[in-house]
């Protein structure tokens, strides 16, 4: 039996006018410029998506990953028919529900009960279906007691739990989800994850899933798509795609800042960042392993070498500094002329997020090579490991540690 793909994306592109992103037009501007169409300056446009093609079979769960501005949200918006593509075509062989935001259309003045009906209808559920699922939705959300309270008096946690509960009971064949697992506390996230897993395994839904939570992508999706600046970088097995995203590929880093390095003298040629098991999915209690590859012109060995590895968080704050001169556990001061420097840490205990690595190499106190953002890695957290009840705000603390009060 040959099955037809349930989602078929053929060479979809989307162009945005940069001008259109600026503050709105006024009638006067338009009249005085005498320009009916906004397509006046070709140079003011950019391709948010270019030639995206993808086929998804029924029952498949496909992850979409990529950095900010890679085009993930635009792609989902096209699939959910919120905005049309500039060219190309999409064929959907089944009903689609899209969840680009949790709680779309929630009205603060209305009660929890009223918002279940409102939100359900906006997401495309019929009144009958909502009524049938009502008890299930309420039980899943855990806000029974507040059903007749206006949601403006809900805590933000209750609000997202209710909103997610409605969305979790959608029953269309195709689900398009954007960052929906990032809501609620860890207990609720687990529940949501389990709900999604059962939607795919037992109910056979087809899901397109965008998330920054690479662990969730890894768990839910066999196949993934990596977008980079609006283009498909790679489609394939999720592990391979995630590794590509995290910059596994050596030699791929940009040498953005070079202080004094005489490239003939010495240069880094690659970096590999993993946990102690060699996986690029790093949990906060994992030990970190950094492998730095280098080459040099030194004949036999490099005398008095020193490496400083600095780790920064995504707001460019310094988080850790690993200095080969500071620790007693260091390499031989006479390094080989080419090879690898390996740095292993104890549990890093960093909070969830993306981190950057800067490398500085000096010989006899002279800087030889300095690479900013030589590599990046992503850390995921399970608050339970630290005996936390919920996930702490990462803007408050970069580090996680077990502690007790008495």
């Amino acid at each position: 039996m040959s099955m037809k793909p349930i989602i078929e994306i053929n060479k979809v592109s989307k162009k945005y006018q940069i001008g259109a992103k600026q503050p709105y037009l006024t009638l006067r501007d338009s009249l005085s410029l005498n320009l009916g169409s906004p397509h006046h300056a070709e140079s003011n446009s950019f391709w948010a998506l270019k030639d995206i093609s993808l086929k998804v079979m029924p029952g498949e769960v496909v992850g979409i990953i990529g950095g900010n501005g890679a085009g993930k949200s635009t792609l989902l918006k096209i699939l959910s028919r919120i905005t049309p593509p500039t060219s190309g075509e999409v064929i959907l062989r089944g009903g689609v529900s899209s969840l680009l935001e949790v709680g779309t259309g929630f009205s603060p003045e209305l009660t929890g009960r009223e918002n279940i009906f409102l939100n359900g209808a906006i997401l495309g559920m019929t009144r009958n279906l909502i009524q049938k699922r009502f008890d299930e939705i309420v039980a899943f959300s855990g806000v029974e007691k507040f059903l007749d309270t206006p949601v403006k008096r809900f805590s933000s946690g209750m609000y997202v739990r209710l909103a997610f509960a409605v969305a979790a009971h959608l029953d269309s064949e195709i689900l398009v989800l954007d960052e929906v697992l990032s809501v609620g506390d860890s207990e609720f996230q687990k529940k949501s994850m389990a709900k999604l897993e059962s939607a795919t395994k037992s109910a056979g839904r087809t899901i397109l899933f965008v998330s920054h939570n690479l662990n969730a992508v890894q768990r839910l999706c066999k196949r993934s798509l990596l977008l980079e600046r609006g283009r498909v970088k790679i489609i394939g097995d999720t592990k391979t795609v995630i590794d590509t995203y995290l910059g596994e590929n050596p030699n791929s880093f940009a040498r953005s800042h070079l202080i004094q390095g005489n490239l003939k003298d010495f240069k880094f040629t690659g970096i590999k960042i993993t946990n102690h098991n060699g996986s690029s999915l790093i949990k906060s209690d994992d030990r970190l392993q950094l492998v730095l590859k280098y080459a040099s012109n030194f004949k036999e060995s490099i005398p008095d070498a020193r490496v400083i590895i600095t780790i920064l968080n995504d707001s460019s704050q310094f988080v850790l500094r690993l200095d080969s001169d500071v620790t007693v556990h260091t390499f031989d001061h006479n390094l080989k002329a080419r090879g690898e420097i390996i740095c292993e840490t104890e549990s890093i205990n960093l909070s969830e997020g993306k981190y950057f690595v800067n490398i500085n190499f000096s010989v006899q106190d002279t800087d030889k090579d300095c690479v900013e953002r030589a590599g990046t890695f992503e850390v995921t957290t399970d608050p339970k490991v630290y005996d936390y009840k919920y996930y702490p705000n990462k803007s408050i603390s970069n580090h996680l540690i077990k502690y007790r009060f008495r």
Binding site: Y16, A20, Y24, L25, T26, L27, R28, S30, K77, I78, L79, S80, R81, I82, T83, P84, P85, T86, S87, G88, E89, V90, I91, L92, R93, G94, G95, V96, S98, L100, E101, T104, G105, S107, E109, L110, E114, F117, L118, A121, I122, L123, G124, T126, R127, P150
Partner: protein, 272 residues
């Protein structure tokens, strides 16, 4: 079910099948707006009557008693209340529907459904107030001792059709224009205010000279209000030419609004 997404999804003027599939949303959006409006109000539904009754009182004193504007032999309060009932529906429906796409911007950017539902739901919401006021008007008609002409039975659906086509057409046009050009929101209240004086609400069409009458006849609300007032006091002296003119003009407004809306609909999420 197979959905094909292409750059230009022009599916004709009206995709009725799709509207039918999403029909519950008309109800849901109107229901939401009504609920929100009467949450935390003391008088609740009585507010619906407050505005037309207060306006009727004031207009009766100033235009009826003091300025002595003629009213085709109808008691001035009843005359102006009948006009205001229709005019208030028109102005409220137009004002809210022209703002509706913007005030539902958050939903438009995140969920797909036929966008037409939003401005039309705003009109339905205004229709609820209209129905309540209409009941009071009918009571007032009997209170003043009039019995409506029997022809109202088949003419009122036509009048309603004219009224709805006009307000839907204008609502669709202004709401989509409002997404693109934000100065529309300042212009509309002004036009509504002017419109009250260009529509025979506080005066009858009979006080106007012929060629100007023709001009005012192009305003479809003229036909609706004039005919309606003639009928409720039991007379049959309505002007059939005026009704036909109004019908043709309102149909033109409706089709124009629909075409303009369809042309801009798919880009709302990009520019809103």
């Amino acid at each position: 079910m197979e959905i094909i997404i292409r750059p230009n999804r022009s599916v004709g003027l009206l995709n009725l099948g799709e509207l039918w599939r999403y029909r519950e949303l008309f109800y849901v959006f109107s229901w939401r707006d009504i609920k929100i409006r009467y949450k935390q109000t003391l008088l609740g539904v009585l507010w619906v009557l407050f505005q037309p009754l207060a306006t009727t009182g004031i207009f009766s004193i100033f235009f009826g008693k003091i300025a002595k504007i003629p009213s085709d032999n109808i008691p001035y309060p009843l005359f102006v209340f009948a006009g205001l009932t229709i005019w208030n529906f028109f102005s409220t429906a137009l004002a809210t529907s022209s703002q509706s796409l913007l005030s539902n911007e958050g939903i438009i950017k995140k969920v797909y459904f036929p966008r037409l539902i939003i401005p039309i739901s705003a009109i339905i919401t205004a229709g609820v107030d209209f129905a309540i006021t209409m009941v009071v008007l009918i009571l007032a008609v009997f209170y003043y001792g009039y019995h409506p002409n029997w022809q109202i039975l088949f003419l009122s659906p036509i009048l309603l059709l004219i009224l709805l086509m006009t307000v839907v057409g204008l609502g669709l046009f202004t709401s989509s224009l409002n997404v693109k050009y934000r100065d529309v929101r300042y212009v509309i209240p002004f036009f509504i205010q002017i419109g009250l004086f260009l529509t025979p609400v506080i005066y009858p069409l009979s006080v106007i000279y012929d060629y100007r009458k023709l001009l005012l006849g192009l305003n479809p609300l003229s036909g609706v209000i004039e005919t309606f007032r003639v009928l409720i006091i039991g007379s049959n002296k309505f002007d059939i030419n005026l009704i036909v003119t109004s019908l043709v003009v309102s149909l033109a407004i409706f089709v124009f609004g629909l075409i303009y809306f369809n042309k801009t609909e798919s880009y709302f999420a990009d520019i809103a």
